[in-house]
């Protein structure tokens, strides 16, 4: 098999072929390793220099198919910097649980992927190690914050990757790069070893070329972890999706997210509506549904996430790891200078916003109110899922935008998350699949379901994928 043919295999197919001894795991690793090492998209912050020694992958579930891992997952002895200069060169003493699980299942680490600093961003321009370019158009962003993972998978620099989603950081870059991204139910995957952004929202999940790869990778990520008390035992085995139709599936279209307020681009709307018509032909029923508080999700999110971040990022103080800037300074000045030099502009902005929202005199008005709105958003979804199997929206209101286009206006950047923030606030899973192109750039279609509905989401996503027949090969050239 030529390298070109190897790269065109999906990860699940490649794993199957390694297990059947039709291809060699080392050869596969080396083919991708060379592509990753020659990366021109800045998708990686670190690439392995050789395949793992003396390991046989023929008997493993994931067949030695190499994995891209977002920089913020701790990997023992390998740089884990969360996209931040404050952690430049940091090599942790232990490995994140989900990374360990995937390694045991037979997916060895190929490279660490670039990201927005501490996962704060929607364009990957907030990385301390430079922006990632979108493989569909190198003048445009790949989305964020898992932009390196998304770009690397789309460009065929790695067969599959993992990222994290707090307000859309898996689904939005997946949409902008024309791949599949799943944000699991809160607690489905252990957060141990994930450098924390907002602990009540952060979830690890797969970014893959297709829905089958997504299911296979996710199957080996789930599970309760004694080292993360918010992790949960997933109630069923993750199945490989097979369903070819959507008979009896009820899809709800939330007016609050898909109407005028969301500022959805015409090209994105066209693709969304075409996908709804396709779903209908596959047997789904489509009706409007109500999520009355969803338009307020963005406000609640931009209080809750920064508040949690301001607490989580207090640990970066120049004492135990990472950067220290001191000179003649006393202790407090050392903290403040280290953080001034080590953090980028967006991280500072969010720390300030979160600290303000938690500060004496403002706590109830901001943070307390946001937590109540969060309850209402979860209630809205609960009510919707009494009538509908899934709620469907475009993943991002826009296709990939030009580098620099939104950097001067934080609020306009935040609006990118309009359709993706309500789900993590409610703790529910959602998947983004490519639904087509608009002006040559990928558009994502999002399905959200109740907690632990991942098998049904993957199955519906698979049925749509078979009907859409999205061709992502242009990005792999």
């Amino acid at each position: 098999m030529t390298i070109g043919e190897l790269i065109e295999l999906s990860a699940a197919t490649a794993a199957e072929k390694v297990r059947a001894r039709e291809i060699d795991a080392r050869e596969l690793f080396e083919a991708y390793r060379e592509r990753a090492a020659a990366d021109e998209l800045n998708a990686f912050t670190w690439v392995a220099d050789a395949p793992p020694d003396d390991r046989s992958f023929e008997g493993t579930s994931l067949g030695g198919v190499p994995l891209g891992i977002k920089d913020l997952f701790c990997t023992e002895g390998v740089p884990s910097q969360a996209g931040s200069k404050i952690l430049e060169g940091y090599r942790p003493p232990y490995t994140a649980t989900v990374v360990e699980k995937l390694d045991h299942a037979g997916a060895p680490l190929l490279g660490k992927t670039n990201q927005d600093e501490f996962a704060m961003g929607s364009s990957n321009e907030n990385s301390g190690f430079g922006p990632v370019l979108n493989p569909w158009d190198r003048t445009r962003v790949p989305g964020g914050s898992s932009g390196g993972s998304a770009a690397a998978v789309a460009a065929g620099l790695v067969p599959w990757a993992i990222g994290t989603d707090t307000g859309g950081s898996i689904r939005q870059p997946a949409a902008l790069c024309g791949i599949v991204g799943l944000k699991p139910t809160y607690g489905a995957c252990s957060r141990r070893g994930m450098i924390a952004f907002a602990s009540s929202l952060d979830q690890a999940g797969p970014l893959t070329r297709d829905v089958t790869d997504c299911a296979l990778l996710f199957r080996h990520m789930v599970g309760q972890d004694p080292w993360d008390s918010t992790s949960l035992a997933f109630p069923e085995k993750i199945a490989l999706p097979r369903g070819e139709d959507l008979s009896g599936i009820r899809l709800g279209v939330p007016e609050e997210l898909t109407g005028e307020g969301g500022g959805i681009d015409p090209g994105v709307r066209d693709s969304y509506e075409a996908t709804l018509r396709l779903a209908e032909r596959l047997g789904a029923s489509i009706e409007p549904c109500r999520l009355p508080h969803a338009p307020h999700a963005l406000s609640a999110y931009y209080l809750i996430a920064p508040a949690e971040a301001s607490a989580n990022l207090a640990r970066f103080d120049g004492v135990r790891y990472g950067l220290r800037v001191d000179g003649e300074a006393d202790l407090i000045t050392m903290y403040s200078r280290t953080r001034a030099v080590g953090f980028g502009a967006e991280v500072k902005r969010r720390i300030m916003l979160g600290t303000y929202a938690l500060s004496s005199g403002y706590y109830e008005a901001y943070y307390g109110t946001a937590l109540k709105v969060r309850t209402k958003i979860a209630d809205d979804f609960r009510a919707a899922f009494e009538r509908f199997d899934f709620v469907v929206t475009p993943t991002s209101p826009w296709v990939a935008f030009e580098l620099g286009a939104r950097m001067d206006d934080p609020l306009s950047m935040y609006l990118n998350d309009f359709c993706t923030v309500p789900m993590p606030l409610a703790g529910i899973p959602a998947i983004s699949i490519p639904s087509g192109l608009s002006d040559g750039l990928p558009v994502g279609f999002q399905l959200a379901g109740p907690a632990f509905s991942e098998n049904r989401l993957l199955s519906a996503g698979y049925a749509l994928e078979q009907a859409i027949v999205f061709d992502g090969s242009a990005a792999r050239r």
Partner: protein, 95 residues
């Protein structure tokens, strides 16, 4: 609208040294974002409980059994100023 003094107060709480230029920019950017966020304060949220956890989870704690932790030298290896038994820091000074 956040003023300069408020920005400096929050920056002190957050242990973040800001340049004059950053203080100016932060005041206007945060005010702009907060103006947008303010709208949730108009909602009727009387009697609504704040979310403390998104899913119903009980009994999340594992048994409290002592287990070995990472060796001290491994942890200290990443520190900017490792001492024999701990982390070195500058003097707290007069504060």
């Amino acid at each position: 609208m956040l003023d300069r003094e408020q920005v400096l107060h929050v920056a002190r709480l957050a242990r973040l040294e800001l340049t004059d230029e950053e203080v100016e920019r932060m005041a206007s950017e945060l005010s702009h974002v907060l103006d947008h966020i303010e709208k949730i304060r108009e909602l009727d949220l009387e009697d609504v409980l704040p979310t403390s956890h998104v899913l119903d989870v009980t009994g999340a704690l594992r048994p409290d059994e002592p287990q070995p932790s990472l060796p001290r030298d491994v942890i200290l290896a990443a520190a900017p100023e490792p001492l024999e038994e701990g982390f070195g820091v500058p003097s707290p000074g007069a504060q």
